[in-house]
């Protein structure tokens, strides 16, 4: 079954990524001993201790196997300097990133779909041109610029929303929504621009198909034709990119998390890289890669759902 084949590929890619990450962190220049101990690395006893703790004296393949074995048993190791369990870090940080990601994607879709429908239906009209021009503009704004401008307008000037900080969903729903509002908008703006353009382009193609003419000949109203007849066949590019973005965003929210001080995966990962916490880096990257691959897998499966022709292909 085609699903099974894709699953196999998924596993292979994840495995390869884990090996790659491991190699990268292990082979990169700079001695972890020095990074961790600092000037105290000259002390032979201390540095031997660190080397032992990190299994640095053992051959690479063995170290990988040890780590991988641990992972498969749910033990991702502990970050050396802070002694946190990596799994705990993941458990704390991942939900934040996921929430931001999901909110941004949903917002982007909620804006893009209606815009694209109107734009495609009235192709080349003033409305359409305005939408296209705005999309272009929104695509070209760097995310950090948008972030600081939004903060400037909404947090500093209007004081409607907080500039930084995160409130957990469990603590307060309104607080949570307010704290992710600006970061969500920052992420959603370029996303919605891309989605609008993609969907509009595909819709315009679809609207030239004969089955749309047939639907018009049946006397169906334009709204119905757009939503029920044109939207589904036009969703492929959108779906592909949506899925890929979902995967890519898990690692791609770094800058936004940093700017808005949100305790998410990306932020923590960059931090870990800076502090040379290799074990933590390995675990986090692995999780991100799994997320990416899973997202792509889901996209492939969804293709089959949306377009029945694919199931037999």
């Amino acid at each position: 079954m085609w699903v099974a084949r894709k699953l196999v590929r998924l596993v292979v890619v994840v495995f390869a990524v884990s090996v790659l990450t491991f190699l990268l962190t292990s082979l990169l220049p700079g001695s972890p001993v020095y990074d961790i101990l600092g000037p105290k690395a000259s002390d032979p006893v201390l540095s031997a201790q660190v080397r032992h703790d990190l299994h640095l004296n053992e051959p690479l393949p063995e170290r990988y196997v040890q780590w991988a074995d641990g992972v498969l048993h749910g033990n991702f190791g502990r970050a050396y300097s802070s002694d946190e369990k990596v799994t705990d870090v993941i458990r704390q940080r991942l939900p934040v990133t996921l929430e931001l990601l999901i909110a941004a994607q949903l917002l982007a879709l909620a804006v893009a779909i209606p815009l694209a429908l109107i734009s495609a239906y009235k192709a080349d009209s003033t409305v359409d041109r305005a939408v296209t021009a705005t999309s272009f503009g929104m695509l070209s704004i760097p995310d950090f610029v948008l972030a600081i401008v939004l903060v400037f307008v909404f947090a500093v000037h209007l004081k409607w929303l907080p500039a930084t900080g995160y409130v957990h969903l469990t603590d307060s729903i309104t607080g949570n929504l307010r704290s992710i509002a600006l970061p969500t908008i920052t992420l959603a703006v370029p996303l919605s621009a891309v989605y609008t353009r993609l969907l509009r382009s595909d819709l315009i193609s679809t609207l030239q198909e004969e089955y749309i003419l047939m639907a018009r000949a049946e006397g169906l109203p334009p709204r119905r034709i757009l939503w029920r007849h044109a939207l589904r066949p036009s969703s492929f590019s959108l779906l592909t990119v949506f899925g890929i973005n979902t995967g890519a965003l898990i690692g791609g929210t770094v800058i936004v998390e940093y700017l808005f001080a949100l305790p998410g995966m990306g932020y923590r990962l960059v931090d870990a890289i800076g502090r040379r916490e290799y074990i933590l880096v390995q675990g986090l990257v692995l999780v991100i890669a799994i997320g990416y691959v899973l997202a792509n897998f889901a996209v492939d499966v969804l293709y089959g759902v949306i377009d029945p022709r694919v199931r037999h292909g």
């Binding site: 220049p29 695509l139 600081i148 690692g251």
Partner: protein
């Protein structure tokens, strides 16, 4: 980087579609709109500034003018004002352009050549070569791009060269995918089969028939990628991971001016470089899009 991933996947099916609908290397016949000309002109200006910055009559971008700290455009002989420690903004913009364009053009260019080659070979020769090459590409793509770039700059040290390398590394798999999609479409078309039928070897066919046609869709993607790369460098600079201070970079200028934006005292310090970056990225996007439209015969029918 959501944008790069997106750009790949818009470009790949696009390139394939353009190929399958019969677009060839005929340049767009319709008149180029004024927006495109303006965009091209802007890119030319920025490129000129980047290349000839040294010989232009600018103030020293590294020297602080203590008499005129954070002053607005036009005062004290500073055409665009000075930043938070008194350095001339215009001069810093020009030198910053060098950073942005180096990363943008060179990193993307390298990625295009290497990634393009991989994609060409994979798409043309198919079989096991394709499976291996694209397998590696898929794995590279599974790596979160931004993280990889950050990791490379952290581990290799901050410098313009390393940032460029990092972006190039991330660009390679993206170009490989796009080029392969485009190559696949062209390789299966009749004129290629005809060439083969006339006795051309596989390699000859690849370089004389397929490559010229693949170049254009990939170049369109390349232009958009330059925009993405410029933004990426800006983001890195914001995180403090790009070229180390005091060397100017648009991203670090925006970062440096942020406090004065937040308290509203001198918003232009951030906003001027932000606007310049925005305009540059927009120009690349516009030109890339116009190039794409120029190839798409079908849109003209409407």
């Amino acid at each position: 980087m959501a944008d790069l991933a997106t750009a790949v996947d818009i470009a790949a099916p696009d390139a394939a579609r353009l190929a399958s609908e019969g677009a060839t290397t005929r340049p767009g016949r319709r008149r180029l709109g004024i927006t495109t000309w303006v965009a091209t002109a802007w890119i030319a200006v920025v490129a000129f500034a980047a290349v000839f910055g040294d010989v232009l009559p600018l103030k020293n971008p590294l020297k602080s003018d203590y008499l005129h700290v954070a002053v607005g455009p036009g005062t004290g002989g500073h055409l665009l004002g000075t930043d938070e420690i008194g350095r001339d903004i215009l001069a810093r913009l020009v030198y910053g352009a060098r950073v942005s364009l180096t990363v943008g053009v060179i990193a993307v260019g390298a990625g295009m050549i290497l990634g393009g080659l991989i994609g060409l070979l994979a798409g043309h020769y198919r079989g096991r070569l394709e499976a291996t090459l694209m397998g590696v590409v898929d794995i590279m793509l599974a790596f979160p791009a931004l993280i990889l770039v950050i990791a490379i700059t952290v581990f290799l040290g901050q410098s313009l060269r390393n940032v460029t390398v990092a972006v190039a590394v991330v660009a390679v798999p993206a170009f490989a995918r796009v080029t392969r999609a485009s190559t696949l479409s062209y390789s299966t078309r009749d004129f290629v089969t005809a060439a083969r039928g006339m006795g051309a070897t596989n390699r000859r066919v690849l370089f004389r028939e397929v490559l010229p046609n693949v170049l254009l869709p990939v170049a369109c993607f390349g232009l958009v990628a330059v925009g993405v790369a410029i933004i990426a460098e800006g983001g890195l600079a914001f995180l403090g991971l790009s070229v180390p201070p005091p060397h100017p970079s648009w991203g670090s200028m925006i970062y440096g001016g942020e406090p004065k934006l937040a308290d509203g005292t001198a918003p232009f310090i951030s906003l001027i470089p932000a606007a310049i970056m925005f305009l540059t990225v927009l120009s690349f996007n516009l030109v890339g899009d116009r190039l794409r439209k120029g190839l798409d015969v079908r849109e003209g029918v409407l």
